[in-house]
């Protein structure tokens, strides 16, 4: 589903070259749950942004769902992102002025779904995260864990092939965090690939695969102990 070949990312700031990601190969199959671990500044977010078509890569080839995303224009890339990828952010990134229903509706409005189709998807997604009864509430009326559930509902409402989760439990206490992990695993069990960036080794260990990024170098770990070591 996701194939990256010899992919690299270089930043230039004041003509100073920074190799954010050294050339690497990566393949993620449909239905896999992959954790990305690494210390701050290691390149985790850069990787996630490239994988999510939020940033351009500098070198290499990136195929998503069999399509080369390198040459896509902004409009095409936006539509592709909307259709193929669901995002879960550390800070939830809900729109405070919109209620839960409208928050989940937001990415669907960029697709050519009918109002009835959107309504069906929104309600299904909210039911899946257990918040259908609170669809008229606003984000500030919810706990952090509930807000992240809404963000997950927003991510899955469009039936994406892949969810990219950026520290999804980073702002939550351990109980709420485990609830979110359970939810993500449920979604993964239904066939949606998940790539999750995390600091938390225990959560990382719940994935099928663990990728470590260290100083811009990607390496796959067989076991978590290696990462800790």
């Amino acid at each position: 589903m996701l194939i990256m070949k010899n992919l690299a990312k270089v930043f230039y700031a004041d003509r100073i070259k920074t190799q954010a990601l050294h050339p690497f190969d990566l393949q993620v199959e449909q239905g896999e749950f992959v954790s990305i671990i690494g210390s701050s500044g290691s390149g985790k977010t850069t990787f996630l942004n490239i994988a999510g078509l939020l940033e351009e890569h500098s070198e290499g080839v990136y195929l998503l769902g069999g399509q080369d995303v390198t040459t896509m224009k902004d409009k095409q890339k936006s539509a592709f992102r909307n259709e193929k990828i669901g995002f879960v952010f550390q800070s939830f990134n809900l729109i405070p002025e919109l209620n839960l229903y409208d928050n989940v509706d937001m990415p669907l409005r960029y697709r050519k779904f009918t109002a009835a189709e959107r309504d069906k998807r929104i309600m299904q997604a909210l039911e899946q995260v257990g918040l259908a009864g609170r669809k008229h509430h606003y984000p500030n009326q919810l706990s952090g864990g509930q807000q992240q559930r809404v963000a997950i509902a927003r991510a899955i409402a469009g039936s994406p092939a892949m969810i990219l989760a950026d520290e999804p439990t980073g702002n939550l206490d351990s109980k709420m965090a485990q609830g979110i992990m359970t939810l993500l695993k449920d979604i993964n069990a239904q066939g949606t690939s998940i790539i999750m960036v995390t600091h938390d080794n225990e959560q990382a260990a719940q994935a099928n695969r663990i990728i470590q990024i260290k100083d811009g170098h990607l390496s796959e770990l067989k076991t978590l102990e290696k990462a800790i070591a």
């Binding site: 977010t45 996630l48 942004n49 999510g52 078509l53 939020l54 940033e55 902004d74 409009k75 936006s78 539509a79 992102r81 909307n82 259709e83 995002f87 952010f89 550390q90 800070s91 990134n93 729109i95 405070p96 002025e97 919109l98 209620n99 409208d102 509706d105 937001m106 990415p107 409005r109 960029y110 697709r111 606003y138 927003r154 469009g158 950026d166």
Partner: protein, 403 residues
């Protein structure tokens, strides 16, 4: 339309900032429409025709040198000299002229001791006035030389032959203004026979409601105590040249002085100086307010963009393309402007009703309200383009990295 309802809900939730902006738009609309209407009315007023060939007409005021009983002859001699100048189409003596601000006015009666049937301005001249002033006869007949009386006193008291403007004829005979031809009008205690009707000839006061109601008497008047006032019409494009040559010709007579000389364009400019100044002030107020509102919308949109940078990044990450972001801000502004315009419409109508009562102006026509709506709408959209474009350039990566 896909952003419309979420934007509406979002604005409802935000409350204060959109309400303030909406009120600003409403006030601007209200003031803009009323000022535009007042400017339009003034502009129409300033463009009313005097009936003269203004582009090629000037008037000249010169002194009398002869004995009091000879001033008529001297005036006729001055007129002959002027008519002899190359490029002169016509010249005629007129104690007063359109828009000059000084002249005579009178009440009109159809019977010697009857009730007034109207009032208007009084001008007097000779048979040369038709050609000199470029008047248009629309009923009856123009003066023949034998109609013209000559006097060195105030001619308004002499029974005379007169022509009247259509506006005056309509005032006196509203059912059929042509009926005035052949009747006798009484004013200043004397009977005056109406020979004909001319289309337009404004009298001396542009601000007067009866500026178009004028009687022109066939009286060649020259009073020893006053200088001679003469209107001169030139061939097209020769105004300046003829003015110079006229002065040169007249000054060949020893003792002759040119007390005043002015083109009709200058007369018009002077007459409407206050209206022009008021229009400029109103324009400045309207434009200033429009700029302030545009800046307000611009500022609010910019603030919204900077406040919502992460939200914009999130929208981009979730599938909005650049045009979706531009459209979001444009629609948001359109919603605020539309609500503002609706409130402004009501306000404009209320404000205008007050102006109608206080300033005796006509109600604002629908066309102004529609034009105001379009202007405010376009203004809002123009003001929001730059912030909206900037917003569209927000990287979707902001969603993960933070603003």
């Amino acid at each position: 339309m896909k952003d419309f309802f979420p934007i509406l809900k979002s604005l409802k939730k935000q409350k204060i900032a959109p309400i303030l902006l909406t009120l600003q738009v409403a006030i601007t609309f209200m003031v803009l429409v009323n000022t535009a209407y007042m400017i339009g009315e003034r502009s129409k007023k300033m463009q009313r025709p005097t009936g003269l060939d203004e582009a090629n007409t000037f008037y000249i005021v010169t002194n009398f040198l002869s004995e009091p009983h000879q001033v008529i002859a001297e005036q006729n001699d001055i007129l002959r000299q002027i008519r002899g100048v190359e490029g002169v189409v016509g010249a005629t003596a007129l104690p007063s002229l359109s828009l000059v601000g000084w002249g005579r006015y009178t009440d009109f009666y159809l019977e010697p001791n009857g009730n007034s049937v109207g009032f208007g301005g009084y001008l007097s001249s000779d048979e040369h006035a038709l050609k000199t002033l470029d008047l248009e006869m629309i009923a009856g007949e123009w003066f023949v030389p034998s109609d013209i009386l000559e006097t060195d006193k105030e001619g308004t008291f002499l029974p005379s032959q007169v022509v009247v403007t259509q506006a005056l004829a309509q005032k006196i005979y509203p059912d059929n203004w042509r009926d005035i031809v052949g009747t006798t009008l009484y004013f200043n205690g004397a009977p005056h026979h109406v020979k004909g009707v001319i289309k337009t000839l404004q009298n001396a006061w542009q601000f007067w409601s009866a500026v178009d109601a004028t009687v022109l008497a066939g009286v060649n008047e020259a009073q020893p105590a006053s200088p001679s006032h003469i209107a001169v019409r030139t061939q097209p494009g020769r105004l300046e040249e003829v003015m110079n040559n006229t002065v040169e010709t007249l000054l060949k007579t020893p003792g002759r002085k040119i007390e005043k000389m002015s083109t009709m364009r200058e007369v018009r400019q002077k007459a409407y100086k206050e209206d022009l100044a008021t229009s400029k002030i109103l324009t400045a107020i309207g434009v200033g307010l429009a700029i302030i509102t545009a800046l307000g919308i611009f500022g609010q949109a910019r603030y919204n963009v900077s406040r919502r940078t992460q939200q914009i990044g999130t929208r981009r990450a979730l599938g909005a393309n650049k045009w979706d972001i531009v459209r979001f801000f444009m629609v948001e502004n359109a919603v605020v402007s539309s609500i503002g315009v609706v409130i402004g419409l009501l306000g404009a109508i209320i404000l205008n009703n007050q102006f109608v009562e206080l300033l005796s102006i006509n109600p604002v026509p629908l066309s102004y309200l529609l034009a105001g709506t379009v202007v405010i709408f376009i203004l809002g959209q123009l003001a929001v383009i730059y912030p909206a474009t900037r917003a569209s350039r927000v990287s979707p990566a902001i969603a993960t990295r933070g603003a």
